[in-house]
Structures are given as C-alpha cells and as structure tokens.
Amino acid sequence: MTLPALLIAAIVLTSVSGLLALAVPRRPALGQALACAALCAGAVLGSVAAVGALLAPVPPALTLPWGAPGGALALRLDGLSAFFLIPVLVVPALGSVYGLAYFPQARLGRKAVRLQILFGLVTGAMALVVTSANGMLFLAAWEVMALGCFFLVITHHEEREAQRAGFVYLASAHAANLALFAMFALLARLAGSFDFAAMTGLRAAWGPATAVFVLALAGFGLKAGLLPLHFWLPGAHAAAPSHVSALMSGVVLKTGIYGLLRVTGFFEAPPASWGALLLAGGAVSAVMGVAFALAQHDVKRLLAYHSVENIGIIVMAAGLALLGRARGDAALVFLGFAAAVLHVVNHATFKALLFLGAGAVVHATGTRDMDLLGGLARAMPRTAALFLVGAAAISGLPPLNGFASEWLVYLASLRTVYDLGPVPHPHFAALGAPVLAFVGSLAAACFVKVHGTVFLGHGRSRHAAAAHEARPAMLVPMLVLAAACVVIGLFPAALLPALAGAAAQWSRVAPEALVGPAASAGASAVRVSVTAAALAAVVLGAWLLRRHLLRRGPLGPPPQVETWGCGYSRPTARMQYTGSSLADALVGSFRWAFFPHRRVLPPRGVFPRRALYRATVPDTALERGIVPALAWTARMAGRARSRLLGAVQVQALLLAGGLVALLLWLALGGGAPW
C-alpha cells in the first residue's frame, strides 16, 4: 500500500469509525468497542503513513478532483504534517479507549453513540486538516472539525454551563472561520490558486501579505487559544467530557498552530516583525495563561489555562523560527521550529494525560472543585502516580518531555545573544529565557497546588471520601501517554534529525545547513539523557540505602502516627492548606489582571457560627471584554429598534424615505462612495 493510500484509509476509517457504535444495537458495549477498535486501527495506519513520510525522501502527495469551486482533494504529507498527524490520530484513539470505561454506551445510550460518532469525525477531519494541500479542502475540513467539537462540547447540553460554553466556543470558532475565509481568499488571490503548491514561495510584500498574516493570527490564534483570543477555551474544556477535553486541548488546539506554521511557511523571507509579534504574543499568552491557571479552583478550567500557557510557549518558539528565517540564521530556524513542533507533540501527550487523569478524578468523585478534594492518592494510587508524571512533564521538569522541548525554546531564544554571524540579531528575543523560567516555575507551583490539593493530604469532603480507582480501560491510555512522556524526555535526541528535515521543508533552507545545528543539539540532548540516568541512579541508591537502614533498625517497622500539628492535637481536614490558599500569594501579584467574583461572609461575634470566603476568578477577556462589548451592542441595537416600526404608516414612511434617499443620491450624481 502506498503512503497516500494509507493516509486516506486512515482518514476514512477514523471518520466513519463512530458509525460502528450503531452496528450492534443489542450489545452497546460491543458496538462501542468496535468503534474504538476502528479508530485505533485508523490511528495506527495513519501513524505508519506519517513515519513512512518522515523517512521518505520526497513528501508523498495525492490529488483528486473535487466539485467545489477552486477546491481539489489534494493531500500532502510533508514533515510538518507528519509530526502533527501522529498526535492528531493517537491522542483521540487513546481517548476513545478511555471512553470505553469513562463514557460507556451501555449506560449512556444515545449520548454515547453521538459522542462516538463525532469523536471519529473530528479525528478524521483533523487528520485531513493537517494533511490537506488545498485551501478549500482545508477550510471544509477545518469547519467539520470545529462543528464536531462544538457538538462534543455540548454533549451534556441539558446543563446551562455546557450551553454557554458551547455557544461561546461556536461563536469564536465561527469568527475564526470567517478570518480564515478572508485569509484564504487573499492567499488565492496572491497565488492565483487555492493549491498550497501555488502558494508556496510567495513574496512577503507589504500589504496583502501583512493582511494574510494578521488574519492568520486572528483565525488560527482563536483556534489555538492564544491570549487574548483564548476566552472560549476554559469554559469549553471544563464543560466537555474529559476525554473530549483531552482531544481538544491535546490536539484540536494544535491545528491552530499547524495553520500558523503552514501559512507562515508559504512566504519567502517573512519580515522580522512577524516573528517578533509571535514571540511577544506567545510570551504574554504563556505568562497570563499560567497566572489564570493558578487562580482556578476547577481542575479542568485550570488545565485549560495551562493549554493557553503552552500554546504561548509554542508560539514563542514559532516566532523565534520566523525570526531565524527573517535573519537567515539556519540554527535559529532549526531550534525554533524543532522546539515548536516538539512541544506540540509533548503538550499533546502530557495534556491529554492530565485531562484523562482529571477525568478519572471527576468520574470517581463527581466534582471538579479541587478545594473539595484531597487525599485521593490512597484511593486511586495509579491515577495519582500517572497524573504526577504529567504534572512534572508540563512543569518542564527533567527528565520528562516537557523539559526537552522547553530546553530547545531556551536555546533558540539565547541564540540571539551569542555566537552571532554577520547579521544583526534582535537581542530582545533573549528575554524569552527569563520569561520561560518564570512561566516554568509558575507552572510548577500550579501543579504542586493541583497534585497536592487533589491527591495528597486528607480528603476535604464526602466527594473525596467516595473515590475509587479508575478502571483499567481508563488507566491504560494514561499509562501509554505517561510512557510517551518519559521516553521522549529520556531520548529527545532521536527525534532531532527528523525535525531538522521537517524544518528544512518548512523554511526551504538547504537541509545541509540544518545538519550542523541538529547534530550539536543532538549531542547535547544525549548529555541530558546521561544526566537523567545519573539522577535515577542517585535516587535509586538513596532508596536502597534507606531501605537498608530501615531493615537494620532495631525497633521494627516505622510507626504510623498522626501528622504533627505543631502541638495542636485535633487537626481536621478543613485546616489543611487549600489550593486557593497555596496559590494566594502568586495570584496576588497578578491582581491587576484579575477581576474576581467574591462571596464573603465574615466571621462575626465572639463565637462566630459560620463564615465563608469564596473567590472565583473568571476569564478577564471574556467577562470584562467580550461579554460587556456584546451587551453594549445589544443595548445599542435595542435603542435603534424604534417601537414605532409596528405602525403601517411608519413602514410606508421607511419605503418612501428609502426611495427619496435613492433619488437624492441619484440627483447628486449617483457616484459610489465606497
């Protein structure tokens, strides 16, 4: 089978996989298993095609005719597409396995069938998005994906929260779509065709090219959740079922990144200002994303804000790669591109892992409020351990994959201050490094908060007390993702040559120019692996030593006691530090950007009965920007709608007035004012 055939088989198989859920109406569990198996099979086929494409000397491509005006069924699997294709297929496949236990058709019936169908459809559409080589096909696949996601978000459409989140998502997805309409229309005008092949190599002249870039930033930025266009994201991720959140956060957002990379890749020598804009926008997104995350109680909203953060990091890296192209610095191109793409893959793994873990928690406890949880590590130790892997990875801690890609971002941003060639580099890009460090330590703080509040300590409510370990079908996908985090983290060097190839295709820099930087980064990456091994050895050694000491101990096994309360002898679970108090000081330093909703019932009297303090931090862009703006529009529209219009005389007057206006305009010459 040729690679394009494999790819098409994968797309078709995944797209229709959900229909198998209807195949055996009598045995819903079997139907769901069949659908899941088909999705997994499609993912395997597609991944094989992607790996084959990475190894192939020339990107496999295929074109079939299509009836839409300007459209063609053109597929192309170059390095960029291949690197996106694998997570785009694998994460949903794992999510679908997870769904076998998390969203069983046998119990949920039609709702689960609908979800299964859409799940496969969205997966197939995403695969088409990242492999299409025609603007019309891209747009059509893009919208199928966006609409499919909308229906996934409103899976629980009887809940108000899901309704609102779904609507906000739909509106922003449509706005993104309109921006992309305009962008592709412009691109087609510049290139003379909707085919990507014709668009490749456009000159980045001032004017239309800038418009294309701005529209791409708006459209793809909305999809990717780049601040301040992220407003739809927290609500949608929180309201959707967890494996859908994993799908959306893990891979759907990445299609925005893919689009941004793809479109900027069309242009020859993009101006440095594009790269600078992406770098700055990414940095703002990263910092504010994690800041908002720190302020959340809802574990899924929190994870959603971390997506904003990580998208910011990816966009920073993409901006650096563009700067490299603007300056003709092959090393910077490689580092930035590799960092962006590797972080895309990595974020897909650890964020999917975290959402699946959060889903297991929600499934077991029935609440997403972290301040009601606690101590789950005892009831669900495996989930806790797997979640911890994801938490460490997203915090960029070695030796996991998050570190590997962030390390490349650091190197790329430092590239602008050392070992420079004759071209002037924008030194400000080096500030990316301290920004990343800030973001990384905030993320670590945030995940200390999440893991500490959810899994450690005492349970804070009956929700926590009722918890149970996740089912194997839920644990296995998480295990696979965690293993991916570890393996990529330990051996990042293995991926660098393929990334260099993809970077060469993307930037049209001669591949030889990228070999050197890739090799040197690879050599360093090997040292990272060695250091990780040393770390593991020391931990193991210390563990053995402690075991030895404890065995030898004269007093038997260590006694189990209450936590020492500094002399206070009757601690209760409610006295623990909550997630909110843990993050309070850090959240405080972002007070200027937050507009919290507070409910305060202060303690009164000598023996206060009941006191309450509850603060939630809603999204500033949504609640202070978009919603008031829309409300204002509605008010203004309301004022414009005169009640007089109900009278037939006024309706006739409108008609007469319109005619008089037309005649006046005619009398004045009838020129076009636009």
């Binding site: 911890l388 390390w407 330590s441 670590a444 200390v448 250091t531 040393a534 020391v538 007093l555 260590p558």
Partner: protein, 305 residues
C-alpha cells in the same frame, strides 16, 4: 588518569565538603554572636545521627512523602554533574546545561513541596506555598543573570561561562558583571532559604519557609533533606565564587585549592550577612527578588549595548 582525577575530584569535594560549608556558616554566625558555637563538623554528626534514627511516618502520607527527599537529593547531585568546581570543567558540560541545572533544582523543589503537602498539615502547606511562590520570582532573576553571562562569555555551558576569559571580562565589563553577581547572590540566598529571605534556625513555624516544609520528616529522610540542602548551598556558592573570583587557572590542582579558599570566603560572607541583617517580612521577599531581576536585566542591557 590525572585528567579524570581532575574532573572527578572537585565533584567528590562537592559531595563531601558541602556539610562542612554549612558548619562553617554556622560557626561564623556564632562568632559574630560572641559564642563559641558548634564544631565545624557538627553537620556530619547530625547527619550520622539522623541516619541511625528510626523514622516516623504520618498515617496521612503516601509514597510521595517518602520519595520527596530522595528525588530532591538526586536532582541536586545531578545538578552537580553540570557545575564546574575549581578550575576543571564539569563532568557533563554541554551547551545549554545551565538550563538543565536550573530545572533540576526546580525538580528538587517540586518533590519537596509535594512531600510537604502530602502530610496534610496546614503548616507544611504554608511552607510549600511560600517555597513555590518565592521560587517563581527567583527563577527569572537567576535566568537573567545567566543570560547576561551567556552574552558576556559567548558560551552556553556553565563550565564555559565560568572558565574562559573571565578576568578580561571583569576588566571590560566590570559594572555589568558586578550587577549580575549581586543579583546572583540574592538569588542564592533565596534559593537556599537563608536570611534575609528565610531563617534556617528559627523555630517559629508561621514564619519559616524551608524548615517548615520538612517538619514531618524524620530519621534518614531528614538526613537526606539536610544533606541535599547543603549540596544546594554548595552549588550556589560555587556559582558565586567562580564568577566573583574570576582569575585564570593554569592547572587544575592549585585552582581547586583557590576554589576551596573562595568557598571559605563565601561561608564567611554568608555568615556575616546572616548575622548583620534581619529577616525580611514575607511579603517583601518578592520585591527583593524582583529588584534582583531588575539588576540582572540592567546588567544584560549593559552587555548588549
């Protein structure tokens, strides 16, 4: 063989001598206070005593609590592999190693903070909160210092930054390096929970940072924590000393001696600072760290000029 020894011996010195550094600091503080103080080797005795004790575990804790100290130690030791002590390069230098260095310290903090939260104690939660909060402000400052050094030395590895051409650099870019070094000292104080950020000797739970996080650890676990803390102090000491001394090392052995002398000076300076300054109010700490960031940024701007 000699080259191997020249590379390994400083690392062994790092592993072996860091409790001594702690002892030296304590000793200097005692002298400032007019007391004789504990012997220099007291930290080693403490460690041995703790290793022999039977630990006590809270019923609330899980394996996270037990893994915390081990990971903390492992991370700091691994970070040592990247640090150049004395005149020799580190054991595993590579371009971009300082990023791994900082991240390993971050890993150690992550593990310790989680272990603290595992006890379910409000005090330890408080400690963890403060630790992660201050770290968030210390980290950008540290990176700004390091970026300034990258810019100044043109090298991406710690060994490269701290070895070649530093003396000339001090002559050429003295003010900038001084600013960076000052910022680095502040970061070192914060990262190691020293005065004026934290007081390692206090026993008022409500004000402590690092010490309050380890309230529930006992026996070998506590020993590992203390040891890791001393290693971390040694690492930062090495960073500051290597930057501040800035003179050429023609051969490894004398340079190791000079380095150790420098560390002694560091201990003295640290003791002096701790004796003469008061601990800052907690909410002032971020301001101090932001100020350090600004200094480092200024250094970077000077270097980029």
């Amino acid at each position: 063989m000699t080259r191997l020894a020249a590379a390994v011996l400083p690392f062994l010195a790092f592993l072996g001598l860091s409790p001594l550094l702690l002892g030296a600091v304590t000793r200097v503080k005692s002298l400032f206070a007019g007391r004789t103080g504990a012997p220099l080797l007291q930290p080693y005795h403490d460690l041995r005593r703790l290793l022999g004790k039977q630990p006590v575990y809270s019923r609330t804790t899980t394996w996270v609590f037990r893994a915390g100290p081990l990971v903390g130690l492992g991370a700091v030791v691994a970070a040592g592999l990247l640090m150049s002590f004395g005149g020799a390069p580190a054991l595993l230098p590579f371009p971009g190693d300082f990023i791994l260095f900082a991240s390993l310290l971050g890993l150690s903090r992550f593990a310790t903070a989680l272990a603290a939260l595992d006890t379910g104690s409000s005090f330890e939660g408080m400690g963890a909160a403060r630790e992660v909060t201050f770290a968030a402000f210390a980290e950008p400052a540290l990176f700004l210092c390091l970026v300034a050094l990258v810019r100044a030395t043109g090298s991406l590895s710690l060994s490269g930054m701290l070895r070649e051409g530093l003396p000339e650099l001090w002559r050429a870019q003295g003010p900038a390096l001084l600013l960076a070094a000052t910022a680095l000292v502040v970061v070192a104080l914060a990262e190691n929970a020293r005065i004026p950020v934290d007081d390692p000797t206090t026993h008022l739970e409500l004000t402590m940072i690092h010490e309050v996080m380890v309230l529930d650890h006992s026996g070998p676990d506590l020993a590992v924590i203390h040891y890791a803390a001393s290693l971390k102090l040694f690492l930062f000491g090495a960073l500051v000393v290597r930057l501040a001394l800035g003179f050429p090392f023609s051969s490894p052995w004398p340079s190791l001696g000079v380095f150790l002398g420098g560390m002694a000076l560091f201990a003295t300076a640290l003791g002096a600072i701790e004796s003469t300054m008061a601990r800052l109010r907690l909410d002032r700490v971020p301001q101090l760290l932001v100020a350090a960031s600004v200094l480092a940024l200024f250094a970077l701007v000077l270097l980029l000029r």
